[in-house]
Symmetry: C2
Subunit: 247 residues, 2 copies
């Protein structure tokens, strides 16, 4: 983004600088003082470029660091022995990847880039060390983990109680909201994932996802052109969520 290296690198030994990062309001540096930010800059060792459709880490990899997404888009998924898998999340700039690895010292899911991406590598041992000294960092980190838990509960709710169209509406509104927080349009965006990945995330088959997209378009809620989505009627979409329960 800032400079294009003449030699292609997969692991860039560029220094990151949290103090300069325009995502710091969304990420671990939030609310830190300048001297504290400098400590954080030291801790975040390197950045790493991840090409589209390659893994940042795989289930079973030993856990050493968490990753802050500087630019790009990821999915995480888990795999069952029998081959079934499920997308557990889509992550965008400013969000943290790798928290699943802390519990066992090994990652328990795969993280795959859905577009060429750029992450800050945060060695976990150093994070723990620094968060013993910087209270605000410690607190931010705890909030990040807790937010992940709350997010997961929301997804469980979706998977456990919602019907297909509600799930897709919830998904689109969630995307919209996250794009807004990053300064993009609320109603118009580009989805980086396939219908199958959306389906896996929402516990639906890709055909069902496709049909729901078509239905929303027919009813004037959205306009769909491949992966390009425009939400025409946001309040209408919201109503889809709350009202129509089968009981």
């Amino acid at each position: 983004m800032q400079q294009k290296a003449a030699i292609p690198v997969t692991i860039g030994h560029l220094k990151s600088a949290c103090s300069q990062c325009n995502l710091r309001e969304l990420c671990l540096p939030y609310g830190l003082s300048n001297p504290e930010l400098e400590l954080l800059d030291e801790m975040v060792g390197t950045r790493r470029k991840i090409k589209r459709h390659t893994h940042l880490y795989r289930s079973g990899d030993s856990f050493e660091a968490i990753y802050a997404i500087r630019a790009g888009f990821f999915k995480t998924d888990v795999l069952l022995e029998d081959g079934r898998d499920q997308v557990t999340g889509f992550q965008m700039a400013g969000e943290i990847l790798g928290l699943d690895g802390i519990s066992t010292e090994h990652h328990s899911c795969n993280a795959v880039a859905l577009e060429d991406s750029d992450v800050c590598v945060i060695p976990f041992a150093k994070l723990e060390e620094l968060s013993r000294q910087v209270t605000a960092l410690q607190h931010n980190f705890h909030k990040v983990m807790s937010r992940e838990i709350v997010r997961d509960h929301g997804l469980m709710m979706l998977l456990g109680t919602m019907r297909a169209e509600e799930r897709l509406a919830a998904f689109l509104l969630n995307m919209s909201q996250r794009f807004v927080a990053r300064g993009y349009s609320q109603q118009e965006f580009h989805l980086r994932m396939t219908r199958e990945e959306i389906g896996s995330y929402l516990g639906l088959k890709l055909e069902t996802v496709s049909r729901a997209f078509s239905k929303f378009q027919d009813e004037g809620y959205i306009s769909v052109q491949q992966k390009h989505i425009r939400i025409i009627d946001i309040p209408g979409m919201r109503k889809l969520l709350n009202h129509q329960s089968p009981e």
Copy 2:
């Protein structure tokens, strides 16, 4: 359990003692040295008794502490505006409740005791303070949060990809495993929750849960007598999980 107070109390000002607790291998004290345990004892201010069917906290309550279950059994659930709700977890002795509250300083789910229970109140500010000094505590706490995230991913997998009988099998094996870790029988236990609560947790209706119980019994996997379950064929149950995928 140890002594019955003459006066009924809901908030007991009994000192807890992590150093004496027989659950310390499952809980935050794991691996701490004796002097560190004493610091922990100081931090854990009080214990609190929660009667069956009463709330430990409610969604929206301001967040001040997390809770370690000393004895008893809880469920957590989230509520949608339209009245639909979903059980997001069942918690037993040695497990931690309340982590959802860190992110917004308010709880985002309800915690209800399914039997008379007893929890250690861990003021969160003090926990953060102490975990800045005691590395092992800090690390344990991070592991507890991460474990919760991994658990949630497993549940998402269940809700997103498994059929009814697989879900129930997974649920029963999970219960069994957690009872073993607490020194109870692997094959025989008492469920504290109703069929409806199991259904809500598994994303099924209570009738479906009931039918699956009956089917398992007919096929000789388990014997069911109300809430009392005996698993007869554990390896058989495990096979139910992996093999029979529809694709």
